[in-house]
């Protein structure tokens, strides 16, 4: 779960990390009041869950009240389109108004769990304020990576090594020790999958300041962070994906017209691949879970049907623990309840499969039964060809 910049900074400030003074505003008037109180110049920054704001005009500097009003008016309500928002973009409802800062140097610092090595990774660079992936590709020697064992925790030698690699002077190094310790603590105590400070600036006042902060929380760990769970902002998310989430269904919208419903993520992906391979295009990824039941199937149907692009449906269920006859009754009930008006190919396999197929066949619904995956792919391809 991503936090907004202002939420991230509030969180990090609680760990003693230095952030610029700032206030959140949802309209021009309150934004101007905030700017007046902070004193000019100010930075006005769109609060959306997407990187690349700056290039898209979502961050503006204002030297005085007039410029601030202009910036606020242009950013608030704008639809921001960046590489990360997708085509539809996302509307700016909130800005962060921050005190301007005189910058001496911009660094890059991030802490994140490194899945491959099972350690915490700290990434640092003297090339702050820019696209760090570009720096890594162009001048890899300018990226420092420190691995920290999660049990051992951050040791002085880790910090010292990074400080030397960033070529910090003595005054900077002393502050850097506390800064990195606090940031590491914030990450580990809050289950952050990412805390990225870009740029971390060293100001004319000889202090470090977290000018921008990108923070992502592990959704699986929200049960122990009620304060963070309360910060969830779903306004930018796809409504169907949100709806699916309510029923613990994994649903992702794609661009095709064949709706799919599968139990298990791996099999769901493989089913999408199968549809593509047969010459059709999947409209979505929908995993109803390895232990899917009739109720989940019904919720799945409703989500699929709510997408107007879906013209046909492929259901692929490998009944393991769940018996196929039970499943078949669920499919029939759900199909009736949702009044499906398009072709549905059902492939089921596993325990009691014959009984299941009998139930589907006797349902008087327009359900097409496939005997195996190859058969299912051929049938869905036939249907897609006729759409």
């Amino acid at each position: 779960m991503k936090l907004h910049e202002y939420q991230a900074k509030e969180l990090l400030a609680r760990y003693g990390l230095p952030v610029p003074e700032g206030r959140v505003a949802e309209n021009v008037e309150s934004g101007l009041q905030a700017a007046d109180r902070l004193g000019y110049p100010v930075a006005i920054k769109a609060q959306v869950h997407a990187g690349g704001r700056g290039k898209a005009g979502g961050v503006q500097l204002a030297r005085d009240r007039d410029e601030a009003r202009e910036a606020l008016a242009s950013i608030l309500g704008m639809t921001l389109r960046t590489a990360q928002t997708g085509g539809q973009g996302c509307r700016v409802r909130r800005v962060l108004v921050e005190q301007g800062v005189e910058i001496c140097h911009e660094f890059y610092i991030s802490i994140l769990p490194d899945r491959a090595s099972g350690t915490m990774m700290i990434i640092g660079s003297t090339e702050g304020g820019t696209d760090i992936e570009a720096v890594a590709a162009r001048t890899p020697e300018k990226i420092s990576r420190i691995h920290v064992d999660p049990f051992a925790g951050l040791q002085p030698f880790h910090i010292r090594r990074l400080a030397f690699e960033l070529d910090l002077n003595e005054c900077q190094e002393k502050q850097f020790f506390d800064l990195l310790r606090n940031l590491y603590r914030a990450v580990t105590e809050n289950d952050l999958l990412l805390a990225e400070i870009n740029p971390l600036v060293f100001t004319a006042a000889d202090t470090f300041l977290l000018l921008d902060a990108k923070v992502e929380v592990d959704s699986s760990a929200l049960f122990r962070h009620r304060d963070l769970a309360a910060l969830r902002d779903d306004t930018d998310r796809d409504p169907l994906e949100l709806e699916a989430g309510k029923y613990r269904l994994n649903y992702i919208r794609l661009d095709g017209n064949i709706g799919t419903m599968v139990n298990g993520a791996g099999l769901a992906m493989a089913t999408m691949d199968l549809i593509k391979r047969a010459g059709a295009a999947p409209a979505n990824f929908l995993d109803v879970g390895g232990g899917a039941n009739a109720v989940m199937i019904e919720h799945g149907f409703r989500i699929l049907l709510a997408d107007p692009r879906v013209k046909a449906i492929l259901i692929n269920i490998f009944g393991g623990i769940l018996r196929c006859d039970v499943l078949a009754r669920g499919v029939v009930a759900a199909a009736r309840a949702t009044a499906i008006d398009m072709p549905v190919v059902v492939r089921m396999e596993g325990t009691n499969v014959e009984e299941g197929r009998r139930i589907l066949a006797g349902s008087n619904l327009a359900l097409v039964t496939a005997v195996d995956l190859r058969d299912a792919a051929e049938k869905i391809a036939d249907i897609a060809g006729g759409l």
Partner: protein, 319 residues
Amino acid sequence: MSIFIDRDTRLLVQGITGREGRFHADRCRRYGTRIVAGVTPGKGGSEVDGTPVFNTVAEAVRKARANTSMILVPPPFAADAIMEAADAGIGLVVCITEGIPLFDMLRVRSFLRLTGCRLIGPNCPGLITPGVCKVGIMPGPIHTPGPVGVISRSGTLTYEVVHQLSRHGLGQSTCIGIGGDPVVGTSFLDCLQAFAEDPQTRGLVLVGEIGGSAEEEAARWIRDHLDMPVVGFIAGLTAPPGRRMGHAGAIVSGSGGTAAAKIRAMRDCGIHVCEDLGDFGGFCARVFHDLAPEIVFGQDKASPPDNTTADSFSARKKS
């Protein structure tokens, strides 16, 4: 022979008094697995379907000589349960639980490195040595004993693959689902090394998916060390980048972790990659027949591949 579990497996089920725990313990018991104990703190002294329940794993090890544990407890308590098992001297822990916080798993992994315990999972279906021992939640009847080892990151996709193998007369030595999380206890590589030492296993099936680079590493190891035919499959050719496809580990980031890259790496290392899941069993039968004909049921056998249909599977289940 087999890897990790066999006739000597003495299974403990952590969370046996829960709905899921009891159900799957019973399924494993019926498959033939020796369930010697359950653990639920505070329920010590009771019984579940004839299996004694203890308060702690240490007690279950001492009194019931459990050597393997299957964990089905809710995510907030799973990491502690794994560490408890490892600390008590359990040699193999199979964690089914999905949704464990990543940092918990990092700590668990460091903890396990301090002990001699192997973890399979979390977020996995477990593992099975067909006809001998099942420690997991997979449907038992789709499996048949034989010479093919199966390693997979998925659940139902593994069942699909195994089902097709069985239908084509390709029995399995051991089938392992290593789990779909980004941090798992046992990697493809660990399983490969174990299979390489197993005299029963004469062919391997590797089922991967997008995300990470475990498949690439496995492929390189196979090229350099393994002397048996390997069939690979990768799910997620059509997955859009940057989105998490169900499994927490299934995400394509930047240019890394794509299905296409994995397939290329596997082919470069001499692995026979099947791209059509609908024909997976047939593909395996052809590869193994050409390279290691002893793996596939011969023509002279009573039960030629295509007779073992879904119907006979269903019938076998009922008998």
